[in-house]
């Protein structure tokens, strides 16, 4: 436990990813099994139970600490676990002291098998034995609140780096492929990463398959686009998912391999391997039921009517905002599910009915996928259709027409080489994304804050505002899009134009205008301005433009579509 607490404490403060990786690898090298595997699990967030509730901590602390001092301390520290970790004191009738600090595996095992009363006793003994920073790590771990700036994705990368040092064949894709099929403390996996033993065999389990990614389409690529070589599809505005169903199980994964099945029981629980058996690549989108006479459908009927329910109702794609209501919900309520229905637009197939299609060309895979699709009846599955075009100019017109009209639904185009096999990672020359042109507005710099990590000495995080009468209302924050030179110039400008501060935030003269690029804009009642933008970034600094000529909120609202 000491080594784990020490690691967690260091990771918590470090900004640099390199340093985090070094610390983690050092820990993996010097810590035995199963200890290190439990640590990996704790950091990756794959421990599937809470040792104790916050209430248990509170109940145990009361009586040990003067309540006035506790409240004053809690006010100052601002956080329960840390306050308790500093204030904890042994009490008279406590259970006998532990002889030594138990291992992490021992702690996890004991809590897992204990009942409420036994766990309260054990927690007391542990808190008596540990020092303040170890207590903090324990309390955070035990309440599943261990947030130390290390994502599961990052941890897997570090595991791959660690493994490569012992065995050059180890890849991140290997780890991602087996990750969801194995359980902590990951002894098989770590043994393999140490260079002893084989990659765990997961062929009889449902697992995430690493996905194929696209490059942005630049002019050089676009000039080679011909309809017989490339297939064009809409790039829908949802989230990339992988649907996996077989006799071994069923799951829905995000593009990084996180199992998100629990958020979408309306999809996953309706799947049965007799009717659907394979691994599918697609876009999870919000759905909207529309009256057929709705003018929205008339305009671009072929894209948006993805399914006709009957002669009066059709299903179309809903806004990303609607989809967002469904993301990261551990247990979505029936009400939420029916208010925000979702579906998947399938656009590729890695396995079908037990056959691995990844070595086939895209056209063949799509042929297999669509012939299976026509026979299935799941109402929440849709098929991405190809877009017919004669040449680049025509494709370009289609793209700008559609994306201009309906920014909710389409992010642009995907262009895929018809002969491409399915290759995990980002292979060159196969898939391209041709995003729609960003929307642009002029906004005024309102506040600035220092950046993180390498940028921590620069003012690089900005809040922008637009006019609402005589007043500026904040509309978005942006931290990217500028060159290093521009960043230096902005930093200098902030230092010379600071008029006040609130903690780390500098209030600046409302005189500098930047052109902000963003992908789409939605109504939002969580923001004072009434709108929320996706992916805002600084497109250009308008040193020349007077602040009063920046956009108004009214103008912004006109960009909201749908």
């Amino acid at each position: 436990m000491q080594a784990f607490a020490n690691l967690v404490d260091k990771l918590y403060f470090i900004n640099s990813n390199n340093v985090k990786a070094t610390l983690l690898k050092e820990y993996l090298r010097t810590t035995p099994d199963p200890e290190r595997g439990w640590a990996v699990s704790a950091i990756a967030g794959t421990l599937d139970f809470q040792f104790f509730k916050r209430k248990m901590i509170k109940d145990l602390t009361i009586g040990r600490v003067d309540p006035v001092l506790f409240d004053l301390s809690y006010d100052y520290v601002g956080e329960m676990s840390e306050t308790v970790s500093h204030l904890w004191r042994e009490a008279e009738n406590d259970p006998p002291p532990l002889k030594q600090v138990p291992t992490l595996s021992n702690i996890i095992g004991t809590f897992k098998s204990g009942n409420q009363v036994q766990n309260a006793q054990f927690l007391t003994q542990l808190l008596n034995k540990l020092n303040a920073s170890q207590r903090w790590a324990l309390l955070k771990l035990g309440t599943k609140g261990l947030r130390i700036g290390v994502s599961a994705r990052f941890l897997k990368k570090v595991l791959a780096e660690y493994g490569k040092e012992n065995n050059p064949d180890v890849t991140l894709e290997d780890i991602e492929r087996v990750w969801h099929a194995i359980k902590p403390p990951y002894i098989e996996l770590l043994t393999w990463l140490d260079g002893n033993g084989e990659l765990p065999d997961v062929s009889d389990r449902v697992v995430f398959q690493p996905v194929m990614l696209a490059h942005p389409a630049d002019d050089g690529v676009l000039n080679t686009i011909l309809p017989d070589k490339f297939r064009a599809e809409w790039k829908f505005d949802g989230i990339r998912v992988q649907l996996s169903v077989s006799e071994n199980g069923r799951a829905l994964y995000s593009r990084t391999g996180d199992d998100i099945s629990y958020s979408f029981p309306d999809i996953v629980e309706n799947l049965n391997y007799q009717d659907i058996n394979g691994v599918f690549d697609g876009e999870l989108v919000a759905l909207e039921h529309l009256d057929c006479k709705d003018s929205k459908i008339e305009k671009n009927a072929d894209i948006f009517v993805i399914s006709k329910v009957n002669h009066t109702t059709s299903v179309t794609i809903g806004s990303f905002n609607n989809l967002q209501q469904r993301l990261n919900k551990k247990k979505p309520s029936k009400k939420l599910i029916s208010a925000y229905p979702v579906g998947i637009i399938l656009y590729d197939c890695l396995f079908l009915n037990g056959n691995d299609l990844r070595g086939m060309m895209l056209d063949q895979r799509m042929q297999q996928l669509s012939s299976w699709y026509t026979q299935q009846t799941f109402s929440f599955l849709f098929l991405s259709r190809g877009i017919a075009f004669e040449n680049l100019q025509e494709l370009s017109e289609i793209r700008s027409n559609v994306t201009r009209e309906n920014s909710h639904y389409v992010e642009g185009l995907m262009i895929k080489r018809r002969s491409s096999t399915y290759v995990a990672g980002r292979p060159k020359g196969y898939w391209y994304k041709w995003k729609r042109d960003p929307l642009l507005i002029d906004a005024v710099v309102m506040y600035a804050q220092r950046g993180h990590g390498i940028r921590s000495s620069f003012y690089s995080d900005f809040t922008f505002g637009c006019w609402h009468g005589q007043q500026l209302l904040p509309i978005c924050k942006a931290y990217s899009g500028f060159t290093d030179e521009e960043l230096k110039a902005l930093d200098k400008w902030v230092r010379n134009n600071t008029i006040g501060r609130f903690g780390p935030v500098k209030d600046v003269n409302k005189t500098l205008v930047c052109e902000i690029a963003f992908d789409s804009i939605h109504k939002s009642n969580r923001h004072k301005s009434g709108v929320a933008m996706r992916f805002p970034r600084v497109h250009r600094i308008r040193w020349d433009k007077p602040a009063e000529e920046a956009e108004t909120i009214t103008q912004l609202l006109q960009l909201v579509s749908g």
Binding site: Y12, F13, I14, L69, L72, Y76, T83, S456, S457, G503
Partner: protein
């Protein structure tokens, strides 16, 4: 004539005023007669007519503000006693920084001790705190919450050396307050056998030189400004005032690991606020246990609490059976030299 200190010792907009001695203790604005407990800028300000302080505190004020920091300075070594107006003044060591003192005031048949800033942890850069029995003890309370328990400095400095061993390519930039903390950190490193040169920011040079004249051995110190190629500072320890940590000055340093030496580093949110990647809990103030210990050692009739987190200390002193109250003083910076 016997008169309770509450009738002749009170705070006003200038600071704490002692009527029988016609003097302010650590006033925040220029006054006629000032008693200065130590050289930190929020306690020792320039522009007073007359200043009573230890010789080291006067030296420090001279270094910081120039020779004309006051009209007349009166040096008083520890335990030297002076009649001042209708009372007497002497200084007792406070263990906070070099020259730091408690002001021991006797007047109207009462003895009052004003602690200034103090600590009880061992510190080779200054004389240890002296327990002076008194009727009223006026204590600071910068770290006056039970969440503050300062670890031994060796343990914190070992953390720094361990990090240096694990990340030999990173320049370890340590934020230290220029007066006291800086020199204490250097000596602690030397005691752990760190013999390499230590690189220092320009703002630290003069006070380090002064500590050396007072007999402290700091080893080889090299101003960062004299290093031709700052890339060579990878793997070295660089000390700088906290304000320089995230500022332009630090950009020229290679591959920086930001460390911060302060008692506030005990609290995670405070460390994050400072962007300290390696927080070092090193304080020149009494932690909670030392505050309570001192109160019990002195065992005064009354405790008055000045700057810091008065509320918790006053509350706890009362539960221990002391008469206690908070004296609200203005103008002391919580985060200035802690």
């Amino acid at each position: 004539m016997k008169a309770h200190p509450q009738t002749w010792l009170r705070s006003d907009k200038n600071g704490l005023y002692c009527k029988p001695l016609a003097a302010y203790i650590d006033p925040v604005t220029p006054v006629q007669r000032a008693i200065i407990t130590h050289g930190h800028a929020d306690h020792a300000r320039p522009g007073h007519s007359e200043v009573y302080a230890t010789p080291q505190t006067l030296d420090i004020m001279r270094i910081r503000y120039g020779d004309d920091f006051c009209e007349r300075s009166v040096p008083m070594a520890y335990s030297e006693e002076k009649v001042l107006g209708e009372g007497t003044l002497r200084f007792a060591p406070a263990g906070h920084i070099l020259g730091s003192a408690q002001a021991v005031i006797e007047a109207c048949d009462y003895r009052v001790v004003v602690s200034g800033d103090y600590k009880r942890h061992f510190d080779p850069t200054c004389t240890a705190f002296d327990v002076v029995k008194c009727d009223v003890f006026i204590s600071e309370a910068t770290f006056g919450l039970p969440v503050f328990t300062h670890p031994p400095i060796e343990r914190e400095m070992q953390k720094l050396l361990d990090s240096l061993a694990l990340f030999p390519q990173r320049c370890h930039l340590v934020g230290v307050y220029a007066l006291g903390k800086c020199q204490r950190v250097i000596i602690a490193l030397r005691e752990l056998n760190y013999t390499k040169p230590i690189y220092i920011h320009g703002a630290l040079i003069n006070l380090c030189k002064y500590y050396e004249t007072q007999g402290m051995i700091l080893g080889e110190l090299i101003p960062v400004s004299s290093v031709e190629n700052t890339k060579t500072l990878a793997g070295e320890i660089v000390l700088a005032p906290p304000s320089a940590l995230n500022d332009r000055w630090s950009r020229k340093l290679p591959n920086v690991m930001t460390c911060m030496a302060s008692g506030w580093m005990q609290i995670r949110a405070r460390s994050k606020q400072r962007r300290a990647e390696l927080p070092l809990i090193i304080s020149d103030h009494a932690d909670w246990n030392e505050l309570i210990q001192t109160l019990q050692d002195i065992n005064p009739d009354e405790l008055w609490v000045t700057h810091g987190r008065e509320e918790a200390l006053v509350h706890f002193a009362k539960t221990l059976g002391f008469k206690a109250k908070a004296l609200s003083l203005v103008g002391y910076e919580e985060d200035a030299n802690s």
